[in-house]
Symmetry: C2
Subunit: 231 residues, 2 copies
DNA sequence: CGCGGCTTTGATGTTCATCAAGTAAAGTGG
DNA sequence: CCACTTTACTTGATGAACATCAAAGCCGCG
């Protein structure tokens, strides 16, 4: 019974392996008590740009998009990502306020832990510090690389790139329900909405993809890869 | 005399305040003994993309550019930066090999410390870990922001942005010797060399800048700000 | 069933890259 | 130090790539 009191679902959480691997049972227990799971529906905002950072947040299940509003009011999508590939506040120790907004693209569960608790762990447990830092570095690198990849491509190459990203990285399936609007894709890869649609229509005509409402099927992944690379 | 033996220029290094503030005298001493200062001339490569990471490096004096080679062989400049605003391996604990190349744009001094030593410090000294992590986060944020800023601008806006970056952030002077070629600017802001030159010529005609060889004078910073913002 | 938002397509014009050709500047070797 | 070579810079002309505008169709939702 005492055993049961000490049991904690955090022990079994997949995220534990990602950054909390080095915590002993006592700290996992403390983490479990202090953490707060929050549910978000599609479209709900998880963090607002400019809002004060009080919690360390990580995505447990779901799909989110990071974005900011540029000076002329346009939305710029920074990245779209899955659990373990996202920690809310990359600038966790460096900034007081969020630099980007985050919203849920699908039903999502976010685990929130008071930042002070994480900072304590960080100071007490060097291995935890290294794990967390590695994770955040990888995420940052990924964002920078993605942005540079996209920048050098032409329209078709960019659309191909983002379709491949969904099919290979996000859904790991040739068929998927696209979680974003055409406009969001446009904001992600830096082009106009009309041209995103036009390019996708071309892909349809060339039998590279098939579209049924929100559902997209990648019919010819090889051709898509070629377009993305050459783009 | 013993005192003198223990004295160390690292104690007075400006960088100490940036990330090494939390180290006690003993660790500063150890750092000082293990560190190796290396000098680079303009144009020399400090890190090669793909090379194994063995050292933690930071720029002590000078100016460097981070860049990578994109899939079609084009050079993409990621950022140009001054001391304290650059730590060689942002992916210090997450990657085995450099993801980007770094070269000196001006005579530069780089301080190299074996990575294992830094890792030890990181584990032993939580405050050091936090300082280092903050620094790296700030750098990453800066790169991401810069890239997004540039992406939404038109040609004139981009050139204005980069000129303002040099005059305000890098040289803190209205007059400066431009440390990069027109092609490097082009690779930095994602446009063709010819159009960088054309845009700068336009700025000259409009008396926004004056050019004498490598020397550039910002004649009308307000107009440049407007062009950058509107761009 | 009608309204508003998302999507689609075509037509048009702007922005920008590319090509070409020439000039200036900076190395390089005798 | 000068002729030669190479590299960087500059400008104009051209066409391609892309954004913008406009109008219409579709879909979901109240």
């Amino acid at each position: 019974m005492a055993k049961k009191d000490r049991s904690c679902e955090c022990e079994k959480c997949d995220f534990r392996e990602v950054v909390f691997a080095s915590l002993d049972e006592q700290n996992i227990q403390a983490l479990c008590e202090i953490k707060e799971e929050r549910h978000f529906r599609k479209g709900e905002i998880i963090n607002y740009e400019g809002e004060r950072i009080t919690d360390f947040k990580y995505l447990k299940t779901g799909l989110v998009k990071l974005f900011r509003r540029s000076s002329n009011g346009e939305e710029q999508v920074i990245t779209i990502t899955r659990p373990f590939e996202f920690v809310s506040n990359m600038s966790i120790f460096s900034e007081e306020r969020y630099k980007y907004s985050v919203s849920a693209l699908e039903e999502s569960v976010v685990c929130c832990v008071k930042l002070d608790f994480i900072k304590e762990l960080f100071i007490k447990n060097g291995q935890f510090a290294i794990n967390l830092m590695s994770k955040i570095s990888v995420i940052n690198d990924k964002i920078i690389n993605q942005t540079l990849d996209i920048r050098q491509k032409n329209l078709a190459g960019r659309v191909a790139y983002v379709l491949l990203y969904f099919t290979k990285e996000i859904y790991k399936s040739r068929v998927f329900d696209i979680p974003v609007s055409r406009k969001e894709i446009a904001d992600y890869i830096g082009m106009s909405t009309a041209n995103v649609i036009r390019t996708m229509s071309d892909f349809k005509k060339d039998n590279i993809i098939r579209v049924f409402g929100k559902t997209i099927e990648i019919a010819d992944i090889d051709k898509l890869e070629i377009i993305s690379k050459r783009g």
